[in-house]
Amino acid sequence: MTSLSQLIGTEVVARDTAEQVGAIAGVIVDVAVGRILGWQVGRGRRARVVDHQHVTGIGDAVVIDAEASLREPTAAEAGVVRGKGALLGSLVLADDGTALGTVDDVEVDTDGGALGVVTTSAGTVAPDRFRSLGTYALVVRG
């Protein structure tokens, strides 16, 4: 497991050209199944997304199979790219209506793409408690 916050800013290199194509700026996740769907590369209007299946390795750099694997964010991803519904910094809300702090960090399995424990300003939350992630909150089982 690697902490997501440490991956932010890591350079992204395309295997087919050996060119740096950007840097990791965020992660696209499906918290209901506890998995990474893709990675945000770059910020603002130049932000692109690469699906996690195109990532060949994560270490000192994030290597993707080809520069052509970078694509425009979908409508559903556009909010995350703009910072709305992003996991890091999100409010954590228990389904009983109690706020549990904000997401400081999350562990990620860079090989399998599984999400791990979320660290909040008030403690930790195991991934089996995740219910949904929206622009207002990461909702977890109370």
Binding site: L93, D96, G97, T98, A99, R131, S132, L133, G134, G142
Partner: protein, 192 residues
């Protein structure tokens, strides 16, 4: 032993209504709907989410469609919970703020300034008590009077201007919400 969550109704107002399915705030609570005869909230009126100047929604959120009433949000399973009230008659509501609380011995305890509501996850067992109004916050009419919390019985005599409670409530008045759950339980135990 679980701790009983008690909330002031004014604290629930302006809280977001959050969909558990999507993590989105689908509305904000505008106000509570209260039926004194039933001793519980029947639901909430709503504003669009997004601050004090967001407009009201025409649909109410019935308590039966709420997942939980919490300290930081009201949660629903999904946005359909709000639509579920559409087209149905408006829930019964009576505004008791400003009404005078009298004991059946004739003592005026004060003017209602807030409702004390049981929070938590709505459901069977203890969850069936969520939304129950277990007390009033009242302010005495004398100069310098402090606000006190008055435990309520399950049933309550209500008119348009007065609320009548048993005189035996007086030893159970408190100023501290943290102590109030015990005061309500003790008061109700000596009634039965």
């Amino acid at each position: 032993m679980s701790v009983t969550l008690l909330l002031r109704a004014t604290e629930i107002s302006h809280r977001p209504v959050v969909s558990i399915a999507t993590g989105e705030a689908v509305a904000d609570v505008k106000d509570v709907l209260y039926s004194p005869e039933d001793g519980r909230l029947t639901g909430f009126t709503l504003n669009k989410h997004g601050g004090l100047f967001a407009g009201p929604l025409k649909t109410a959120l019935l308590l039966d469609h709420v997942y939980a009433v919490g300290t930081d949000a009201v949660t629903v399973e999904d946005i359909g919970a709000i639509g579920a009230a559409g087209g149905e008659p408006a829930p019964r509501n009576r505004n008791v703020l400003g009404n005078e609380v009298l004991t059946d011995g004739g003592t005026a305890l004060g003017i209602v300034t807030d409702l004390i509501v049981r929070g938590g996850v709505v459901g069977p067992g203890v969850g069936a008590e969520v939304g129950q109004v277990v007390g009033y916050q009242v302010r005495g009419t004398a100069e310098g009077a402090v606000e006190q919390l008055v435990p309520l019985p399950y049933a309550l005599a209500v008119s348009g201007t007065h609320l009548v409670v048993p005189a035996t409530v007086q030893p159970f008045l408190t100023t501290d919400l943290a102590d109030f759950g015990g005061a309500v339980a003790d008061f109700r135990a000596q009634l039965s």
